[in-house]
Symmetry: C2
Subunit: 277 residues, 2 copies
């Protein structure tokens, strides 16, 4: 594990860390913001999962989370979105599959199963690394994310409600197993049987009995992916049927970009902080 860059920002430290990942069989990079401790022992940890095409860097540069994380005393962890490197199987011209498109699942189909295990990486390997190598001891972890990462956050919270005490999403994909931009990736990672896809699809998990106390979602109404890819109505219905408390905030005029994400970052951080502290 190596700290490859480190910047003082809003009195805390934005670090960029590189390490070897067993789950992904490659070298990985993630960003972690650690606020000045101010005497707080074991500050809460909030995980941000990014969307298609992003690395750890996009939200770190454009997400505008440091000011509020510093004020509240929260650690923010921003992992990459897929295994990455010359040896990793990929489809270079396809932004909806492979590099930058790990979908936070564990692949079962060769040749992808050796590397595309983002679910294990996010839920097991990286938390262990943070505890053992970065002395991050808190048990108060929350999770949120954007688009593919918003969906990832919801599925991970549904399957690990004891590990993540709060969950929210910005413009999440609701039902990737049927959406135009993700269905084919599910088939390649998980095989042809759609039953196997249900384990990594938020609406299916809700149908199949997984539960979480409450989820906050912000969604821009001028988001170009609203109708085809994101379909928040599917998540709303699935939550309603499952008795899960979904606060779905529809935002007139906002799109899918970091201009949208940064606008609502503060309210998500405060929402998580209330539930983590």
């Amino acid at each position: 594990m190596e700290i490859i860059d480190s910047f003082l920002s809003f009195e805390g430290v934005q670090k960029i860390i590189r390490h070897n990942s067993d789950a992904l069989s490659c070298e990985m990079t993630f960003a972690i913001y650690e606020p000045e401790s101010g005497g707080i022992k074991n500050p809460p940890v909030l995980w941000y999962l990014s969307g298609l095409t992003c690395s750890h860097a996009n939200v770190m540069e454009k997400g505008e989370y440091r000011r509020v994380a510093s004020e509240l005393g929260m650690i923010i962890v921003c992992p990459d979105t897929s295994p990455r490197g010359n040896d990793i199987p990929d489809e270079e011209d396809n932004w909806q599959f492979g590099t930058g498109a790990g979908f936070y699942l564990d692949a079962v189909s060769p040749p992808y199963d050796n590397n595309y295990n983002m679910y294990t990486y996010i839920t097991k390997e990286l938390p262990t690394l943070l505890r053992e190598k970065c002395s991050i001891e808190s048990n108060a972890h929350g999770i949120f994310g954007h688009s593919m990462g918003g969906h990832g956050a919801i599925t991970i919270a549904l399957k690990n409600p004891d590990s993540y005490k709060s969950c929210s999403a910005l413009a999440p994909i609701s039902q990737p197993s049927t959406a135009s931009w993700s269905k084919s990736a599910f088939e390649k990672y998980l095989g042809k049987d759609p039953k196997l896809w249900r384990d990594y699809d938020a609406t299916c998990l809700l149908e199949d009995g997984y539960r979480y106390p409450e989820i906050l979602v912000d969604q821009g109404l001028s988001d170009p992916f609203l109708e085809d890819g994101l379909r928040p109505e599917l998540l709303r219905v699935a939550c309603e049927n499952a008795g899960v408390n979904l606060e779905l905030r529809l935002r007139e005029g906002y799109d899918h970009s970091y201009y949208f994400i940064s606008t609502f970052m503060e309210s998500h951080l405060r929402w998580h902080h209330k539930r983590l502290c």
Copy 2:
């Protein structure tokens, strides 16, 4: 003039505009953030001049100005740092000259004098364009910037105190006519006679009788360019000798990056707003 992109953010609109520049004899792009008017007529305009290698986009993406600009009701204009394009004379491997390094001066030496007229572009052409094509009517303009752009802001304010009612800088170059990373650019743009360089050097302008009521500067003490390139002590002495009120805030541990800029962006915006409203 063409709005090439437009994003709702913090209830205002971040626009990116392309236009033909007479002063620079090329097509130029700038960013402008317009807060929701909230009934305010003619909101104040704050100009941000970027540093070496940057375009309009760096501060727009990483500067974190929109939240506070929205709250205060200020327009933020972020121009490019030089003429740009295949036909513009440049030294491709030199990041301290040519593209991305216009130094906010009007060149007099061929072949640069046809394009490298950033001083005229910033102080005359772009304000006229904003008034005539974007209906921006305010007379309350302030100016600030970072590094090369912080220096540009100070020189422009010193030479146009009636046009810019407030001036600040983040990690400005103090004396580019003698600094290692800028002296050679001055020679290429302005010719071999150092007397001609004084007109675009903040400390020389102060020595030569130019005055401004007060200047705010933030400077990180872990800035790698502190000793060789920036030298805030030279600005401090020049301001002291000229009776110009300089508030120089030295920031332990901060570097030259957008992690530093974004940290102190809010206090600069509030400082300008007090003087513009």
